[in-house]
């Protein structure tokens, strides 16, 4: 991957006409020189685990099995995943969670970004305050919301009851509400991120276009819809990639406050793989499922990136 053709063009040495003046760096300046220390670390501690995970996914391998036997099963583990109702439910839960969480974050974040973009006194303070949720430890956020949701003593349950909502076992105790309650937690922690990203995107837009639209008689709403929003599309897409990748990795709040329940209503794919791999020690099967998850993530990101590229061409 590291070709020597891009290397070793000494400052004093000859010129590579095709490459313009880019490589007029020192003697030992080659791509390999700069990246190999990082690549060695990544190779040993990231590529190796991933490669092992691909390898072992073709074997039946249970750590709890006293003989530690590894039986080659080909694509057996992958086929088993598609026939495993728990895995299907977990994938469905993950998708519902991602669509719900990222969708609300986008809508609320966009509204908030527009609000933040108004030049009003005190806006700087609001923007600073909004950073707080982003830095918080997700486990702490999960435990706090778990307490707020508690059916007997939690403030959220209490105020909802005061407002006339009868929630029975509380937001995370009711199978129909549990996943939505986790969505609320995610929306709480990450909407500010979305808002700040989109706000900076709005801020960097050229004012001339807005002025021109205004002179042409466009209402503020029309200017938002036909000027700001199209210009914002690349930022929106990148924000969506970042959030989707993260939301698919949801683990802490499921582990800490719902344990996948009630029933299987909040068992997301990450948590299910964790359970199979590290509670049942069914390593081969867990590896196969995590590879499937990786494929889903890569495909989704590729789709976003393609949308990004086409939107870049259009504008």
């Amino acid at each position: 991957m590291i070709s020597s053709s891009t290397t070793d063009l000494a400052c004093s040495g000859g010129s590579a006409p095709k490459r313009k003046r880019r490589f007029r760096l020192g003697r030992r300046s080659s791509l390999a020189f700069w990246v190999s220390p990082a690549l060695i670390l990544i190779g040993v501690f990231a590529i190796y685990p991933v490669a092992y995970s691909v390898f072992i996914s073709f074997f039946k391998y249970k750590l709890t099995d006293p003989t530690k036997s590894q039986t080659f099963v080909g694509f057996g583990n992958y086929l088993a995943a598609f026939a495993d109702p728990s895995f299907i439910v977990a994938v469905r839960n993950s998708l519902v969670f991602v669509v719900g969480a990222v969708g609300f974050e986008l809508l609320l974040g966009l509204a908030l970004a527009v609000l933040l973009n108004r030049e009003l006194p005190g806006m700087g303070i609001v923007r600073s305050l909004l950073i707080a949720p982003l830095t918080l430890t997700p486990l702490v956020v999960a435990l706090v919301w778990g307490a707020l949701y508690n059916a007997d003593f939690g403030p959220v349950s209490y105020y909802l009851k005061q407002l006339g909502f009868q929630l029975g076992a509380g937001p995370i105790g009711e199978p129909s509400l549990a996943l939505a309650s986790l969505v609320v937690i995610d929306v709480w922690q990450w909407t500010p991120l979305m808002a700040l990203l989109l706000f900076t995107g709005l801020r960097s837009q050229p004012l001339e276009l807005h002025d021109a639209a205004q002179i042409d008689g466009a209402s503020p709403w029309q200017r938002f819809l036909f000027v700001s929003l199209p210009l914002l599309k690349p930022t929106i897409l990148v924000a969506l990639v970042i959030r989707t990748m993260d939301a698919l990795k949801l683990f802490d709040s499921v582990f800490a406050i719902t344990g996948g329940g009630p029933g299987r209503s909040t068992e997301v794919v990450n948590y299910y793989i964790f359970k199979v791999g590290l509670k049942y020690f069914d390593i081969g099967y867990a590896a196969a499922m995590s590879n499937l998850l990786l494929i889903i993530i890569v495909i989704m990101s590729a789709l976003y990136l393609r949308a990004l590229r086409t939107s870049g061409r259009a504008s």
Partner: protein
Amino acid sequence: MTVKQRWFGNALSYFLLLLTVAFFLLPLIWLIGTAFKPRLLAFSVPPTWFFQPVMDNFFTIFRQMPVLQYLRNSIVVAVGSTFLAVVLGVPAGYGLARHPGRASNVLAFALLVIRMVPPVAMLLPFYLLMRDFHLLGTYWSLILIDAVLNVSFVAWFMRGYYASVPQDMEEAACCDGCTSFGAFLRVSLPLALPGVVTIALFSFIASWNDFLFAMLLTGRNTRTLPLGILESYRAYEVSWNLMAAVSLFAVVPVILLGFALQRYYVSGLTMGAVRE
């Protein structure tokens, strides 16, 4: 727009902002408040928002668990992995930016894919690897996995950052007889310091907040704060007040860091968004 309309618009904006800030801060205020509540008040119905703060929870947690050790472990792991990620990642990002071409693009894409690998997929083989190296339960296991995940992000980020740093000064240093590494250390690194601060901040926060890896890779003596928090929540009886008190040790440092370095933090968010 008439004056009246503008006044109305501003009033509405402030009202919406107030709602927003309330929504995003109330859970945090609840957490901080609960850390200073006696146990009975923490579970009161209706919830108590105004009360006489007490320090009992802190005395209790210091009696019951090695909070300061958790804090120290968290610092060691977050600082160690951030240091490793920055020392290896910044030069890598620099090299990728200064040697554009096919190899650089492929590597940058590979770095991005590593960020996408689901943590559970990495965790099991990494766990087995650490077991074979006899590193389970040491700081190294956690430092290494956090560093690996962060280094790919650092390199990818710095590649974008260096693309916007002009090369003239490096070239001047180079022709004045510096080696390329000398030029990097004396010229390119100082020029990119804001970017390095930003990315170090992101690495630190990511590693500080990690729970999943810490749960599996740490031992009795290397447990980090998130594990202490879960322990305080579950060990004896569910006690929100104790959980809140321990949580403050994990939460306050990163919030302060975020505020103090918010210029870098926000610019980092944007960098990620502007450069694909």
